[in-house]
């Protein structure tokens, strides 16, 4: 894989950075790729637009930030408007469809996948906090940029007390991702 750029956006508190860190850990430590994860945040801790990025590559990563994302995962309208720029032609856009609408013109060939991650977390996992894990499952199923075994492994290491609920959220996300793959919007 030659330099694959992932951008994740949402609002502070949704676990945007955590999601990027877990994906980064899984692909660096489990999949043995070269990975750099970065984030940008303002002086405020919660509520503002939050962005995190991951560069995954088979060779050493030079410039550490994403130049033009291959995939943009977005979980809030503010983050969509602020960070959608630069998405590559034929790139992938994954949206939390209850929170984000595609309201700008997208580059040619971009495929949009709608994942109601927050709704799945709330109604099926019964924990809104797992929305980022649902989204992570969908991301892995759609892009195949990170191994599902790697994500499972890192989540178990990180949150040994919440293995069951996280696996449920991840599985539901994978299912939603696979379903979206069959019928991109």
């Amino acid at each position: 894989m030659v330099r694959y750029g992932v951008r994740i956006g949402g609002f502070g508190g949704q676990g945007i950075v955590t999601m990027a860190v877990v994906i980064g850990e899984a692909s660096a430590l489990f999949d043995k790729k070269y990975v750099v994860q970065t984030q940008s945040y303002g002086p405020e801790a919660r509520g503002g637009a939050s962005k995190s990025e991951i560069v995954i590559s088979d060779e050493e990563v030079d410039y550490p930030k994403v130049l033009a994302p291959d995939v943009f995962v977005v979980m809030s309208r503010a983050a969509y408007l602020e960070y959608v720029h630069g998405l590559k032609e034929n790139g992938i856009l994954i949206i939390d469809s209850d929170l984000v609408k595609v309201e700008t013109e997208l580059p040619k060939g971009v495929k949009v996948y709608s994942i109601p991650a927050t709704r799945i977390a709330d109604q099926e996992v019964r924990s809104k906090q797992t929305a980022n894990v649902v989204m992570m499952g969908a991301f892995a199923a759609i892009t195949k940029a990170v191994s599902i075994e790697g994500l499972r492994h890192q989540m178990e290491e990180r949150w040994p007390k919440f293995v069951k609920i996280n696996h449920l959220a991840l599985d539901l996300g994978i299912k939603a991702g696979e379903k979206a793959l069959e019928a991109p919007s």
């Binding site: 860190v21 980064g24 850990e25 660096a28 430590l29 070269y34 990975v35 750099v36 994860q37 970065t38 984030q39 940008s40 945040y41 303002g42 002086p43 990563v61 030079d62 410039y63 550490p64 930030k65 130049l67």
Partner: protein
């Protein structure tokens, strides 16, 4: 502890590097983007029977670090621009009392409080000339999470060996990004500790240097009695207003570093063997430059890079050598030009082209590539 791999932040790699180097005292005042170092130290120090103390400000922080070092403990503080400014007076005290300490500056946007969450390389000259008087310090410039660990270990080794404050100067991106970090087996790490006096306590002269110009260092609370002061002092440590002693002391404080410049300075050469255009860079801009060099090579332009892992003492010889080998030098810095002036001094008459960017986003690979092409067309 055996070798282990983590996926972690530059700041945390720095803290782990310090602990692996034997640091057992951290005195600090949290400040973005260096806070994670303090946080990590607050958790880890008690586990290793070390001490973490949060002070009322950066002045108290650094002076406590000087004190801890005199008590025989490897000690460190970490800060960013506004805190580094407050520490400058005490940097001079550490230089004058020849106290081994490590000061980490995760550089953010300035002047003043500037942009706390955005990086810059604005404090490179401050590290060298921020305190008054004529002196030398050492400053290392990591460009990756692994180097945040490796160069922190090196910072401790150099500070112990030369009894001098050593700065680790990293920009915010290097401090905050996460990459894989391999923490080596502690037995495989080469660690240096300060020389202790061998003379009888009654004959001990605390500031009498050995042949390497570095005096052995006795510790507080031992049989060795001494007086350490910021005033100009003779070999006994007694203050004096003598011209001879002042000249001898200031010369030695400079010479003990400059005489060992080849051993202290480290550079990385990248595609330089046949290069006609060379980038000189450090920190995050060097990562952009690496990409730009590859892209320029793909276009048939003979570009290369000399990456500085040490900025102070300035690697004069490698720059002079580089200047005689290439036609042009380009210096991209995340500031208005700081190392640039040093490069220009030692590269003359080879033209040196500055790329300024006093902002959180460094020069992008494409921007450096365009500059290479522009210079190539000259």
């Amino acid at each position: 502890m055996p070798e282990r791999t983590m996926f972690t932040m530059g700041d945390i790699a720095c803290a782990e590097g310090a602990l692996s180097a034997g640091c057992r005292y951290f005195g600090g005042y949290p400040i973005t983007p260096a806070t994670e170092i303090a946080e990590w130290m607050a958790v880890r120090m008690p586990e290793l029977s070390g001490a973490y103390v949060q002070y009322e400000d950066e002045i108290a922080s650094i002076t406590s670090v000087i004190g801890a070092s005199w008590a025989g403990i490897k000690a460190m503080t970490a800060t960013s621009g506004p805190g580094a400014s407050l520490m400058m007076e005490a940097v001079g005290l550490a230089v004058m009392t020849e106290t081994p300490i490590v000061i980490v500056n995760i550089m953010r946007g300035g002047p003043s409080t500037g942009q706390p969450t955005r990086g810059q390389q604005g404090d490179v000259l401050q590290a060298k000339w921020g305190s008054h008087g004529d002196y030398q310090i050492i400053a290392l410039t990591p460009a990756s999470v692994q180097e945040m660990f490796d160069l922190t270990v090196r910072a401790f080794n150099l500070s112990e060996k030369y009894r001098v404050p050593v700065f680790l100067l990293a920009d915010e991106i290097v401090g905050h990004m996460r990459e894989a970090l391999v923490i080596p087996d502690e037995k495989s790490l080469k660690l240096v500790s300060r020389k202790m006096p061998k003379s009888e306590p009654s004959e001990y002269l605390p500031f009498k240097p050995d042949d390497d110009l570095v005096p052995p260092m006795a510790l507080l609370g031992t049989k060795y009695q001494f007086y350490a002061t910021g005033l100009t002092h003779d070999e006994r440590g007694y203050p004096t207003d003598s011209d001879e002693v002042q000249i001898e002391l200031v010369t030695r404080l400079n010479e003990k570093i400059l005489r060992h410049i080849d051993e202290i300075t480290e550079v990385e050469r990248y595609f330089l063997d046949d290069a006609e255009i060379a980038i000189v860079a450090y920190g995050t801009p060097a990562r952009s430059a690496r990409r730009a060099v590859k892209d320029a090579r793909a276009k048939g332009i003979k570009a290369g890079m000399l990456r500085l892992k040490t900025v102070w003492p300035f690697p004069e010889e490698p720059i002079a050598q580089l200047a005689s080998d290439v036609k042009h030098i380009i210096v991209p810095e995340q500031n208005m030009g700081q190392v640039y002036y040093m490069v220009r001094a030692f590269a003359a008459p080879t033209p040196v082209h500055l790329m300024t960017k006093p902002a959180g986003t460094p020069q992008l690979p494409d921007e450096i590539l365009r500059k290479i092409m522009e210079v190539h067309a000259k």
